[in-house]
Amino acid sequence: MAELGREPKSERGRALLTDLVNELAVAPSGVSFIASCLDRLVEAWDLRAARAVINDSVLGLQLFNAGRRPLELDQMPSSLLARGSGIHTEPTMVEAADDIDAIARLCEVALRMDRLHYESLHDPLTGLYNRRGFDEHLAAAISRSVRYGWSFGLVIIDLDGFKGINDRLGHQGGDAVLRQVGEQLRQGLRSGDIAARVGGDEFALLLHIDGPTSLDLILDRLHGGGGIGPAGDVRWTPGLAMCPDEASTVDDLYRVADQRLYEAKAAGASAGSARSEVR
C-alpha cells in the first residue's frame, strides 16, 4: 500500500480496474464480485464507505454495500438510491471519477449476468423454480439426506385434465390456472419446503416430511379442502418418493415419484378424493 500511495490516483484506479476485469471472468457470482469491487475500492483509497447503486432493467434499483455488510441505519435506503446509478464513495473521489465509473459499469455487467442466471433457474409464468433450479436444490437435499440421514419427500403434482382446461378457457385461462397453482403452492408450503414448475402442468415439491401421512396434512392445507382455478374445479394428483428410504439419486427419485403419480392417476386418486392412495 505504501508504494501504491506514491502513485497518481488515476494509475491506481487503472491498475485496480485491470485486476477487476480479470476477476470478473472467474468470479463465482455477480453479487460477490460487486461486494469485492467495493471492498477493493475502500482498501485502495482508504475510504470510509463505498456503495454501488445499479439500475437493472428487471430488478430496478439495487443498492450494494462494501463487503456485503448490512446498511447502517443512519441513512435511509431511499436516500442512498436517490443518488442515482454509480459507485458512491465517502469521501468523494473526484480525481478518480473516470476509473470508478468504469468499475461501476463492470458491476452492472456482473449483476446482469447474475440476473440472467436467476432467470435460467426460474419459471417466468409462476415465479417458482423451473426444473433446472429445482434440481439444484434437490441434489443438495439428497447430499444432506445421505450424509446426515435426514429424510425428505419429492412430490410430483400433475393437474387433472389440464388439456380440457386449456380447451375450455383458452391458453390465457390455462396460464391463469397455472399461476394460481403456483401462488397456492408458494403460500401453502412451510418454510424450508420448495416448489417448482417442472413441466407444462407438472409441479414438483421438495418437502421435509417423514412419509405419506405428513404429505396428506400438507396436501390438505394446499388444496384448502376444494379445487382451484376460476371455477374451483381444477384438481391435482400427487406422487411421492421418499429419500433416502426409496431412492437417493435425482433420477431415481423422479422415477419413483412418477410411478406413484401414474398409479394414483389410474386409481383416480386426485388430491382431496383419495389421498390415502397417494403412495
Binding site: S29, R69, P70, P77, D114, R115, R186
Partner: protein, 78 residues
C-alpha cells in the same frame, strides 16, 4: 455455479421491493445475520413470508433475519 449465499442474496434481490441485502456474522459471531432492505411502496403484502421462505431454503442453520423497511416518506426505519 454460485454458492448458497450468492444464490440467497440474488433470490432476495429478485423479490419485488427488495433493494439491498446485507450478510454478516450475527452478534454472537457464530450464526449468519441476513439483512433485507425493502421499499414498502413496491413490496407485496406477503413479502416477509417470501423472504423467510427463501432464507430457509438456502440457509440450513444459525441464521437471523433483519428486515429493514423504508417507507420512502420520512427518516426512521422499522
Amino acid at each position: 455455479m454460485t454458492t448458497d449465499l450468492d444464490r440467497l442474496e440474488l433470490e432476495l434481490r429478485c423479490l419485488p421491493g427488495v433493494v439491498a441485502v446485507g450478510l454478516d456474522k450475527d452478534a454472537n459471531g457464530e450464526g449468519l445475520l441476513i439483512q433485507a432492505v425493502v421499499l414498502s411502496p413496491v413490496a407485496p403484502t406477503d413479502l416477509r413470508s417470501r423472504i423467510r421462505r427463501i432464507v430457509d431454503a438456502n440457509v440450513r442453520e444459525g441464521a437471523s433475519l433483519e428486515i429493514l423497511v423504508d417507507s420512502m416518506e420520512t427518516a426512521g426505519a422499522t
